[in-house]
């Protein structure tokens, strides 16, 4: 879980932060904080699906579910468990 959080956090830093000196953590609001916009969310969702071999239905890829690394991790964990 911690490893997953770290992977997602690093990906967000690498791909979506324009100024890499901006501090972000596992609870930093990503969508409501304007770091990841609704169009870019599609690429973040695609990354999670590729990385963890899951499919996240569009109706569950909501701004609320993607609003922090912690929330994303919970979502991904749930889909991995479902996959069994």
């Amino acid at each position: 879980m911690d490893d997953m959080k770290g992977v997602i956090l690093n990906y967000v830093k690498k791909e979506y932060l324009e100024d890499d000196s901006e501090p972000i953590n596992f609870d930093t609001p990503l969508i409501s904080g304007g770091i990841v916009d609704s169009f870019s969310m599609v690429s973040l969702k695609r990354f999670l699906e590729n990385k963890y071999s899951i499919q996240i239905p569009d109706d569950q890829a909501t701004p609320e579910a993607f609003d922090s690394v912690n929330k994303i991790t919970s979502l991904v964990e749930a889909f991995i468990q479902k996959k069994g």
């Binding site: 324009e18 100024d19 969508i31 169009f39 870019s40 990354f47 590729n50």
Partner: protein
């Protein structure tokens, strides 16, 4: 009673002089939008009235009275002059929706320079193309966006100043960078306003077409006359309104109706600088008791998706008037807003080139859900036969939406691109590039674009620009870009590519290419879906045939394929 009163009566006795008189303007006078939006409002006795309530990402609120706006725009204007910026120099605003964006816009106009707002999510190549074309002298930006400018700085010799409005004072400034802090600068009580006239250039907005690079739409200070009256009659803005325009001033709605219109009318407006969520938006309306809300179909459909239950958790009873812009508003959204908010979103139609609302639904006029409404008084609109460019002689026929140029905020030219400007005019009509039909009562009904430009979330994306950017990826040999239907954004970008030898299609490569475009152009331009082909459909002369790919995405007939090269 609404501000417009009877639409039919307004049609009968309309003249733009109504607006000129209310603004105290006479032909030949000095007309400076920056002054009208700050100093004049103060002179009318509203100096202490709240002009702007801004809530940032972290919930921090900043409030500005009209006198604050006047002083702050004087202060920024004086700073720009001090850097040597003169009238008609292009000054780009490349920022999030922070107060400095709104106030800086007025400051640029006050000194007679030309404001060039650009969407802060643009990638470095999108930024370069627009700054290079405009020959921009200065960019006002934030620390977080400066790295994108740094990447292209060597290719922009005319760019003399990069003004950072939130520099922390610790990290050293880089080449051509200069720090400016609105909160720390000494307020400038008096600024000599540059004496711009009706035809003096005011704003450049860049817009995308099917082919070629984005075009700089040149507007003038006289546009104020249209923006003032359309805001008053269509948005029905009144003295005691609390107004929220959700558009980003990187786009034309955000300047015409997010800065110029509310400020010249002396209205209190609120700005939320945060990402979208239904809860955050409803909370914002409740907290500030928003009365007039101007938004976009994409946002409205996203709110619909969030459901009806969440609406009930908030007190939204302050809302009295709702309007929408950016793309056609589907009838379901109109009916939904009537049900959950007790009033419909009224669709408004216009473009970067028109500078103001040109076709609209009006308060007090019958709303036909799904219709664009009727032309604004003083604006002649018609459905043109695409072969003759003459108005269709009977109702119900689909044709091109044409507008007779001549209203105050119509673009005056495309910057450095007279051929493109002429190409948009035929037989005395300005061609919008949109198709529609008109019913027997004069309501316009949107049908679609007349070209390949993609309207995604209310913003136009050029397939040519995305295709060109795709070709600069090391793995891509050929590219074609079309729109794909989308339930929220109306359309999204879909890319078809063939790969160079040595590259194989994979999910990781697809994601890599998507992110490549997002960073190079913008998130709007990023393909939301990609398909890999061995080769793309072309004519025998080698010209890419987008229409086949487009037809497949939209479930339409493919049509004649006889001119295609063999596989």
């Amino acid at each position: 009673m609404s501000n417009i009163g009877s639409y039919d009566e307004r049609l009968g006795n309309f003249s733009w002089s109504i607006s000129e008189k209310e603004l105290g303007y006479k032909p030949g006078d000095v007309i400076n939008i920056g002054w009208y939006c700050s100093d004049r409002v103060c002179q009318m006795g509203k100096a202490s009235k709240l002009a702007l309530i801004h809530e940032g990402f972290s919930g921090v609120e900043r409030r500005y009275t009209y006198n604050d706006i006047r002083l702050a725009s004087n202060t920024i204007g004086a700073f720009l002059r001090g850097l040597g910026i003169r009238n008609e120099d292009r000054v780009c605003l490349f920022m999030d929706k922070i107060p400095e964006l709104y106030i800086g816009f007025l400051a640029i106009l006050k000194i007679g320079a030309i404001a060039q707002p650009l969407f802060s999510a643009f990638g470095d190549e999108s930024l370069y193309v627009r700054l290079s074309d405009a020959g921009t002298t200065a960019v006002i930006t934030q620390k977080k966006h400066a790295p994108k400018i740094k990447k292209i700085l060597e290719r922009l010799p005319h760019l003399k100043h990069i003004i950072i409005v939130d520099h922390d004072g610790k990290t050293p400034l880089r080449e051509r960078e200069v720090a400016f802090s609105l909160t720390e600068a000494k307020p400038v009580e008096t600024l000599e306003i540059f004496e711009t006239k009706a035809e003096s250039p005011s704003v450049f907005h860049y817009t995308s077409g099917t082919t070629g690079q984005p075009k700089g739409v040149r507007h003038v200070h006289y546009s104020l006359i249209s923006q003032y009256l359309t805001a008053k009659w269509v948005l029905d803005l009144r003295e005691d309104d609390i107004y929220w325009c959700t558009a980003d001033p990187g786009w034309v709605t955000g300047t015409s109706y997010g800065i110029i219109a509310p400020f010249c009318l002396g209205i209190t407006q609120c700005v939320l600088d945060a990402g979208f969520s239904a809860e955050a938006w409803y909370r914002f309306i409740e907290k500030y008791k928003i009365t007039m809300w101007y938004s976009a179909p994409t946002a409205i459909r996203s709110l619909m998706k969030a459901g009806d239950e969440i609406v009930k958790r908030f007190d939204l009873s302050s809302l009295r008037h709702l309007a929408s812009v950016g793309e056609p508003l589907n009838s379901e959204a109109v009916v939904w807003s009537q049900r959950v908010f007790g009033r419909p979103f009224l669709d408004t139609y216009w473009q970067t080139e028109t500078g103001c609302i040109v076709i609209s639904n009006y308060p007090g006029m019958e709303v036909r859900p799904g219709s664009m409404g009727k032309p604004f008084p003083g604006i002649t609109a018609a459905i043109l036969n695409p072969s003759t460019y003459e108005p269709h002689s009977s109702y119900g026929k689909i044709g091109l939406i044409g507008l007779r140029p001549g209203w105050p905020s119509m673009m005056r030219s495309y910057w450095n691109n007279e051929a493109a400007f002429q190409g948009k005019h035929r037989n005395g009509w300005y061609l919008t590039g949109d198709r529609a039909r008109m019913d027997k009562d004069g309501y316009f009904w949107f049908v679609g674009r007349d070209d390949d430009v993609i309207n995604t979330g209310g913003h136009l994306v050029s397939p040519f620009e995305v295709e060109s950017a795709l070709l600069s990826h090391p793995a891509v040999a050929e590219s074609a870009v079309v729109s794909k239907p989308d339930p929220i954004n109306l359309e999204v970008v879909k890319a078809f590519v063939s790969l160079k030898p040595g590259f194989e299609p994979s999910k990781d490569l697809e994601l890599e290419i998507m992110n490549f475009i997002r960073k190079k152009l913008s998130p709007l331009a990023m393909p939301q879906e990609m398909a890999f082909f061995k080769s793309l459909p072309k004519t025998r002369s080698g010209k890419l045939v987008r229409r086949i790919l487009h037809a497949k995405e939209w479930g339409e007939e493919i049509g004649d394929t006889s001119t295609l090269e063999d596989d």
